[in-house]
């Protein structure tokens, strides 16, 4: 397969590297990319007549200033990490799961339903029940595009986009109809608050859900890199025909990948409901699944890379409210995200600048676009 990264001239003269050099090679490019992006962001902020240093200082304080701020950063990062993992996981099999958003919504509302609907359980049972119930709902929603693709050839990009809209409508209906909070004080569409036994607690201001997400990220890494299933998924992703000839059941892998991807997104929705919002309310989860695509791409679809990407974007979101007080519109964080993504992806520019050789063998995502297994 052609890979743009492999063809740069520095590559030919590469010697075996020490561990330190390899870490530097992996970290330096994204680091410089983020800095350059911040620099461009500073120009935009300055063009609005605001001191960029003051703006960034308040951004930093809002994201990492104290334990409360740091907790908020991790809280924002948590659903992004889950949906980023969901998107990355599907990417490994050459699948474009644009439907993480819908899967996340179903995970969220199912966790809420279990959380407020089932009484009298101890935390040790209620909490995992709601968590895995939500994840399972996401998985079941993820199976639809998987089966449609393998049985009819319907492209998962279309079906997942359509399923997102269907999910928004169904969850809106549930939160405004059968599962609506009917208490006298409530007039909006939302479910009742979930019981204390299904709330994911905080430990010293830090949300426990984030640490769960980290564990899941390492599990995903293990499955992808160390297990037979992961090998089959990666093979099917790189070259489905070769995978088929070597005896891998590609259709089974596609369905399974979509199920697991949906599981991850659904768990993200469940954690957001149980750890942050405390109930399901339409609109509160908006965009989390789409931002998962950004996280996945920024983290180069690597599970551990996803952790850093999610914390970075989480920090931008957490710090933007404090930055707003010095007069910078929070939308600047979207501009920063786009610039970071650009400079991480256009690493040719950065590498020329800091003289780091190209990395090896990152699969090209878009070459599998529109492939029907």
């Amino acid at each position: 397969m052609e890979n743009p990264g492999n063809l740069s001239p520095e590559k030919a003269s590469q010697k075996p590297q020490s561990v330190l050099e390899r870490i530097w090679a992996a970290v330096s490019v994204p680091l410089v990319a983020v800095l350059v992006a911040m620099l461009f962001g500073a120009i935009i902020i300055a063009s609005n007549g605001i001191d960029p240093i003051r703006a960034y200082a308040s951004l930093f304080r809002g994201a990492f200033g104290d334990m409360v701020a740091f907790g908020r950063t991790l809280e924002k990062a948590t659903p992004l990490l889950f949906s980023g993992l969901a998107v990355s996981f599907a990417f490994k099999a050459g699948l474009f799961n644009i439907g993480a958003q819908g899967q996340l919504l179903f995970g969220g509302i199912t966790a809420a339903a279990i959380g407020f609907g089932i009484h009298g359980l101890p935390t040790a049972i209620h909490l995992p029940l709601a968590l895995f119930g939500g994840a399972l709902a996401g998985a079941l929603y993820g199976i639809i595009p998987g089966i449609l693709k393998t049985s009819t050839g319907a492209h998962e990009v279309i079906t997942t986009i359509m399923l997102n809209y269907i999910a928004i409508n169904i969850t809106d209906y549930l939160a405004d109809g059968p599962w609506k909070d009917t208490s006298a004080s409530n007039i909006v569409a939302r479910t009742p608050a979930i019981l204390d036994t299904a709330i994911i607690p905080r430990v010293a201001e830090l949300p426990l859900g984030f640490f769960l997400a980290i564990v899941v990220a390492f599990l995903v890494w293990w499955v992808l890199e160390k297990s037979t299933l992961g090998f089959e998924i990666r093979t099917a992703g790189l070259n489905p025909r070769a995978a088929k000839y070597s005896g891998i059941k590609v259709t089974r892998i596609i369905v399974l990948t979509m199920v697991l991807s949906g599981f991850l997104a659904g768990m993200g929705g469940a954690v957001e409901t149980m750890g942050v919002i405390g109930r399901y309310q339409p609109g509160f989860n908006q965009g989390l699944g789409f931002e998962g695509i950004t996280v996945a791409l920024l983290g180069k679809t690597h599970p551990i890379g996803n952790i850093f990407a999610a914390v970075l974007i989480g920090a931008l979101k957490a710090g933007s409210s404090l930055m707003q007080r010095v007069g910078v519109d929070p939308e600047i964080t979207s501009v920063l995200q786009a610039l970071m993504l650009f400079f991480v992806a256009a690493d040719v520019l950065i590498r020329r600048f800091i003289r780091v050789g190209a990395e090896e063998g990152a699969p090209n995502l878009s070459s599998r676009w529109g492939d029907s297994n």
Binding site: L7, F96, A154, I158, V335, F342, A346, S366, G370
Partner: protein, 335 residues
């Protein structure tokens, strides 16, 4: 082969399409017979619903036919909607506003081409960059309560507008809706009957072979992505100054992604995308009509109708689709 046998052959080959169209035509005729006013309104609204989506799909397919994946349609539409609104608000000239919208889309296209052709950035990332950037920039520079310079007027096409049903639906529209109709056929003709079209398709299917016979792969891709960006920009201008007359944050509301779906649905052909876009527009219009009609089903169930129908038709009738072979792979010159 004479014309009638060719038509019969065509209908045989496209049996599903033929049956589906026949059902829709009969349904429309029946409905018109029962209630001409509502039918007319629904069909006209279907056409307008489909306009930005069809334009977006054309934008996508001109890129993809030359081998460049464009998932940044949403962003191209959004930022063009924004700039054309700004021009309409500050200058007040709607024609200039449309042109600026097109130009903005072309600049976004240039950015996509620069990323995917020159920098060889992964094209999925390139498109995502454009989507987020557009969301950020339009949000950052957006001013609440800015009044626009009005909407593009409806221009009835003389005597054509007096034809029953068709006149009101097809020939009584604002300009961008007309241009979408023209562009569908123009792009079809260009793609399959001109030198540019042949070059585009060869670059999308087998760039190495195209290069060997002297076609400039890079230049072809640049030109296509920029032209496509202009069409995406037109779709954006439709939203802000033809359809609504104002700008809101994230007002594209996923239409760029629906356009992407419609493009694949139409199997990367302009006429296919048009058909798929019309189907989507029709279901959207029917959905709106049902909600106005006061039928007592929860509005969410009606709201998801277009999406369910798209999936059912796709899975049941259309099935597998084949993209251009070289799509998504940056081209490397040998030697």
């Amino acid at each position: 082969m004479n014309a009638s046998t060719r038509i019969v052959e065509f209908l045989k080959k496209r049996r599903v399409l033929t049956i589906l169209s026949a059902i829709i035509v009969i349904a429309i005729a029946w409905s018109y017979n029962n209630n001409p006013v509502v039918t007319q309104a629904v069909l006209a609204s279907a056409l307008r619903h489909s306009t930005p989506i069809v334009l977006g799909a054309l934008c996508g397919l001109i890129c993809e036919r030359s081998g460049i994946v464009n998932i940044g349609i949403e962003g191209q539409m959004l930022i063009a909607a924004f700039t054309s609104f700004l021009v309409s608000a500050f200058v007040g000239n709607l024609l200039l506003a449309v042109l600026v919208g097109i130009l903005t889309g072309m600049i976004a296209g240039l950015l996509l081409a620069f990323m995917s052709v020159t920098l060889k950035v992964d094209q999925i990332i390139g498109g995502t960059v454009i989507n987020i950037l557009a969301l950020g920039i339009t949000g950052f520079f957006y001013q609440q309560g800015l009044a626009g310079g009005g909407k593009l007027p409806i221009i009835p096409l003389g005597p054509l507008a007096d034809i029953p049903l068709l006149g009101r639906v097809l020939f009584t529209n604002p300009p961008i809706t007309y241009s979408a109709l023209i562009l569908v056929f123009l792009v079809h003709f260009m793609l399959f009957h001109t030198r540019w079209g042949l070059r585009t398709r060869s670059v999308g299917e087998h760039p190495r072979a195209a290069d060997t016979v002297g076609i400039n792969v890079f230049l072809t891709r640049y030109i296509n992505v920029i032209i496509a960006g202009g069409i995406g920009g037109l779709a954006g201008a439709f939203l802000s100054i033809e359809s609504v007359g104002s700008f809101e944050r994230a007002m594209t509301n996923g239409r760029g992604f629906v356009a992407l779906a419609v493009m694949i649905f139409g199997k990367w052909t302009p006429l296919g995308a048009w058909g798929a876009g019309l189907l989507f527009g029709l279901t959207s219009a029917i959905q709106t009509q049902i909600q106005f009609g006061g039928i007592t089903i929860p509005h969410q169930f009606v709201g998801m109708l277009p999406y369910i129908i798209t999936i059912v038709v796709l899975a049941g009738f259309v099935g597998r689709s084949r993209p251009p072979a070289a799509e998504g792979v940056p081209y490397e010159k040998e030697g």
